[in-house]
Symmetry: C2
Amino acid sequence: MKLSTKGRYAVMAMVDLASNSKGQPIALADIAERQEISLSYLEQLFAKLRKGGLVKSVRGPGGGYLLAHPIEESRVSDIIVAVDEPIRATRCAPGSPAGCRSNRSRCLTHDLWEELGNQIHLYLSSVSLADICNKQVLGTSGVISHTSAPGHAADPASRASAAE
Amino acid sequence: MKLSTKGRYAVMAMVDLASNSKGQPIALADIAERQEISLSYLEQLFAKLRKGGLVKSVRGPGGGYLLAHPIEESRVSDIIVAVDEPIRATRCAPGSPAGCRSNRSRCLTHDLWEELGNQIHLYLSSVSLADICNKQVLGTSGVISHTSAPGHAADPASRASAAE
DNA sequence: AGTATTCCCGACTGGGGCAGTCAAGATTGG
DNA sequence: CCAATCTTGACTGCCCCAGTCGGGAATACT
């Protein structure tokens, strides 16, 4: 799960598509103008979104793109996965952490990144395009809780820099 | 909150430092060998960690680096923040989303990324070096819950690709 | 048929940051 | 003094993002 501006552009465009389409296709040129994204760049992104099965295309005059799924079932995580190429998570071989186990105690951090990836994916899976259109992204009500983390759970803002 | 290999290296090194130091300083050369990271590159990282106040340095023979804080109070989020330079979150001006409000409906996604950043930061703040050393990173017991997201909370693995 | 509109595809480019190297200088223990 | 170690700065190669360009294919409209 990579988080770059690329994925953000894709989500912006998909939100625009979701909120402006009333059943008829939307031309990329419209989205490009509204979201102030280069048209040619958008074409690249939507090529991937189409291959990922997230949008359907209609060619010819009056054509454009349509959501392939109902707005409530279009998850943000799917968009990002479709657009961003996967990143090699640690330095371990994908799948089996064979490279980790070779010299033990090396990838103590492996579990951490894996779990973090799960957390991010889980959160983004819980947000649909409908949620964003309805502004239901939920504010700063802390949601993550470390099930077994006593002790340093206190003083949450001592050295905590502003979340960027 | 940026997530690159750079931050991972830093965390790996800090975990190594935490688990191998018994009060006496650890030379970077040792960490470099154990973690298979270039020594010169580690030097750069630890320069930032030192400026961030996460480690203390001891010069001269027998010198090296020490954790500046107790192992339980060294949070992963602090390490990553210290090492990775901040990323411009959206395309909005940092702080006030003035650029967003200019043409409305553009940054509907703004809240999403901001909230996601909070989630990540919150999770990484909840993990200390002590947790990692004790392998208490907690497995795949889903922790995030969308407080107000009924409906599409079901079928969690239908199109969910393998978490990478 | 012809034309305009739109998607589709591949190649190309400039820049930024990561990963890593190299070469010095500063500081301290033996 | 000398060796070990941190400290600093400049330098490099490379990959990928963001964006551009030129053309080609499908379709609606006249």
